[in-house]
Symmetry: C2
Subunit: 277 residues, 2 copies
């Protein structure tokens, strides 16, 4: 009998693909906001796909989630109140509540179906969502931020790619709104795509964050299932600098540690040039 090979192939842009061999499709639905698919892959465990873009996989999710959470959270000396915009899979929340100082973590996710699918098919990613400190709000994150001024120590923007429902999360008015939603010594971080292929976006977002916050810093991590494997995050802060972190409070991590915190802030020359550092 001929053997069947099933592949999920992401068209990362018009000229690049990544392919993951799959065993089967586990779930597929059109939600109010996007196409949501879950596959079981051979290499990376379960795979969450939104509108054809790889969001996360069981095997490499730890990198993105740890790095979007722990670099900014360690930059704040005492984060108590944290907001995650997007991030319906719960991975960022799981990392946020590892910080003993955190008293309240709000998840503002527009698509409740992402939360439900993650609880069902990615239970170890969604594991923090039932923590008593966590408040899951199925709302438009942009509006939520506007309506909660001066409330958060840290805001983390865990968006999809800058197409469809996430477009507004990459625009300057949103960062200004995030600034207002932060307390006087608050800070934010956002996922900002790959320096190898999303240069215009990074230049624009970094410029907007630098124009809005006294401190701006790009940092990097290795994410195998995202385009090019080099992923950037942009941090904006009213007061504290990520370079000044000397002590790490969270140690049950697979990627993040004190040396990685500082290493992620070191930029290759071509990335420095991109952000004008």
């Amino acid at each position: 009998m001929a053997q069947t090979h099933l592949w999920f192939t992401e068209l990362q842009n018009d000229n690049l693909t990544i392919g993951l061999r799959i065993e089967k499709t586990i779930h597929s639905e059109k939600t109010e906001y996007q196409q949501l698919d879950v596959y079981k892959t051979v290499q990376y465990g379960n795979l969450l796909v939104l509108d054809g873009c790889i969001m996360t996989t069981d095997k490499d999710e730890f990198v993105y989630h740890e790095m979007l959470a722990h670099v900014p959270l360690h930059t704040h000396p005492n984060p108590k109140s944290v907001l995650v915009v997007g991030g319906g899979d719960g991975g960022i929340i799981r990392e946020v509540i590892k910080h003993p100082s955190v008293e309240r973590a709000v998840l503002a996710e527009i698509d409740g179906r992402v939360v439900e699918a993650s609880k069902k098919y990615f239970p170890h990613i969604a594991s923090g969502l039932s923590d008593p400190r966590v408040d899951v709000q199925i709302v438009d994150g942009i509006r939520y931020v506007e309506e909660h001024p001066n409330e958060f120590d840290v805001i983390l923007i865990d968006s999809t790619d800058p197409v469809g429902p996430a477009v507004g999360l990459f625009q300057r008015p949103f960062y200004e709104s995030v600034f207002r939603a932060l307390k006087e010594d608050g800070l934010m971080a956002a996922q900002t795509e790959s320096p190898f292929i999303n240069q215009d976006l990074i230049r624009q977002v970094y410029g907007d964050v630098r124009a809005t916050f006294p401190v701006a810093k790009l940092y990097l991590a290795y994410v195998p299932t995202y385009p090019t494997g080099m992923w950037s995050f942009t941090l904006g802060s009213k007061k504290y600098r990520p370079q000044d972190v000397s002590e790490v409070r969270v140690h049950d991590t697979k990627y993040y540690n004190r040396e990685i915190h500082h290493a992620s802030l070191a930029l290759p020359n071509f990335v420095k040039e991109l952000v004008g550092e």
Copy 2:
């Protein structure tokens, strides 16, 4: 008229692919040692492929070549005599001769057709091969190393993947032979695949290098066209430590700089665990 889309797809292992859209095939031949193909891609410029594996592309070659050369060369205070094993495209040699102390750089490449194809289709990568300090030897690198004891300050192993002609370059007798070919304060570095998917290989090579050299260190760089985008290099040294580098001598680089030197030595927890650090 229907539009034609041509793609080069590398099967990175049984379960992962990367695809690059190509405009056309530029060159294709079966050499004495391997299948050699050159494609013009849309995203990455020209692409060199050996036995179906991506070797290098015009657009991202600088990362791999700078990082395999400059981390070890800066670790040595005064490298004069350098050997590159493999590396027939010339990219490592181009970086080596940026160091003003280098008086002699030998390229020991088994397949002369790689050198010729690179000169023709990747002239900016091969540019250093005509430098008067450079000695191109079309020889078996393993034998060349055995026959030149106590001769080199730095040996760089720029091999293909550990299949076919390169298998011997990943084995302990070769590292012991490299040790003997180095001067009393010499050091080596080798490309050693991805920590996300080549864990057994890295564990074995790192163990062999650590058993052979007083100093062993794994370091990392972002290479978009290699599997997972996270690439490792293993450094073995008789005396000098890469952690002790305080000054950088080469500045015309697109990736490498002093902060990146030290950042590349910081390992995520799962990689630390892999090498027992």
